[in-house]
Symmetry: C2
Subunit: 225 residues, 2 copies
């Protein structure tokens, strides 16, 4: 990449960081806990999120923003779990940024929400540098993908807080080596907590729900709401 | 994206196009047929390519370049099929460009090759704008990914010549809807030829070998070698 491109990109990233910081304060003040999801295309983000929203919505007020280059297919799928869903279409841009998130929130009262999820564009590279003001970033890796993805895309794993291995129901058919995948994750991000889930069978989903609920309780004590 | 970033990026793309054109002429003169592969991470590019190289190597001289942000895992895997393999590690860059290809070819005699394959970084966005001087671009989509990927990432399908649906052995377990996937492909790229393969069982692999062999014969008649 040439030097000028790098310079311009750094300016864009700095602007994004400032806006993300403002968003984070806004989320904190409103008492909404914000989780973003990143992964390669086809790792099962939307199915995972649909099932997660359905479970969380029993006792919480939940909403989701979902990014894609084109189509509002994912928003339509998530709308089965909650009425508060908006699609962000990015055109040719391979990631969400803080400005897109701010625009998409227009008209929503954040005080009316307990959880907000932001599903990023399916991409293991571009989203890693863009802070969206989220409290927690989940990186998803499917059992059908290949155990060495964390080694090949270290930055996205390094900038995420938690790893979720999806499609565990297909692990056997895909000859997925769980131990190797866990080793790959630990070698790029030592100590990273990993959940194994299947949105299809429900395996591991309750653990994720409990985890996020407890995280929210610590980050957003009831007293400040 | 801001205007200045777009301008700088256009300059970079123009430089790339000029170099790609020079590469294409070089490939033509040497009689080597060049195929690139793009797809999301984990769609099975490397396994597909390993099996393809193995089959083609029976009667042809084959070589491969393989791009990743980090690791040379893929080159090590492809080296089981041909000794002519080089890894290109891109660092934080989400695609190959013509300059990286030219650098990686240094020291190889293209006249000694019949087929050269270039496996791009796993990404459904960034690689689409970068011409690598290839004759043919294959876009891979796995049966475990989701049938609407072409609708969500139209540019990468529009800039490819042929679509390959991989991991067909897992189609049933993944509840993959082949007709829907074909409709998605046709709606963004009407008339696009589609192959269905399983590198694991071998299904469809001979058809791809025959197709590429025949393409090479038309594009590189023996007389010019």
């Amino acid at each position: 990449m040439n030097t000028r491109l790098v310079e311009v990109r750094q300016k864009v990233l700095k602007q994004n960081d400032l806006l993300a910081r403002a968003l984070r304060e806004q989320f904190q003040d409103a008492g909404v806990y914000v989780t973003s999801l990143v992964s390669s295309p086809g790792s099962g983000k939307t199915t995972f999120l649909e099932k997660l929203l359905g479970r969380l919505a029993v006792e919480n007020r939940v909403a989701a923003l979902v990014g894609d280059l084109a189509t509002d297919n994912d928003a339509a799928r998530l709308a089965r779990a909650t009425s508060q869903v908006r699609q962000i279409t990015t055109g040719t841009i391979c990631h969400l940024d803080a400005q897109m998130v701010q625009n998409a929130l227009n008209g929503w009262n954040l005080n009316d929400l307990d959880f907000l999820f932001i599903e990023n564009v399916g991409n293991l590279v571009c989203p890693s540098s863009y802070d969206l003001g989220e409290d927690m970033r989940l990186v998803l890796l499917s059992a059908t993908e290949g155990e060495d993805k964390p080694l090949k895309y270290p930055t996205i794993f390094n900038t995420a807080d938690i790893a979720i291995i999806t499609k565990m129901d297909m692990a056997e058919a895909a000859e997925f080596n769980l131990e190797e995948a866990r080793r790959s994750i630990q070698s790029v991000r030592p100590g990273m907590q990993v959940f194994e889930v299947s949105a299809k069978t429900g395996r591991g989903m309750d653990e994720v729900v409990d985890f996020l609920t407890s995280k929210r309780s610590s980050a957003r004590p009831v007293s400040i709401r």
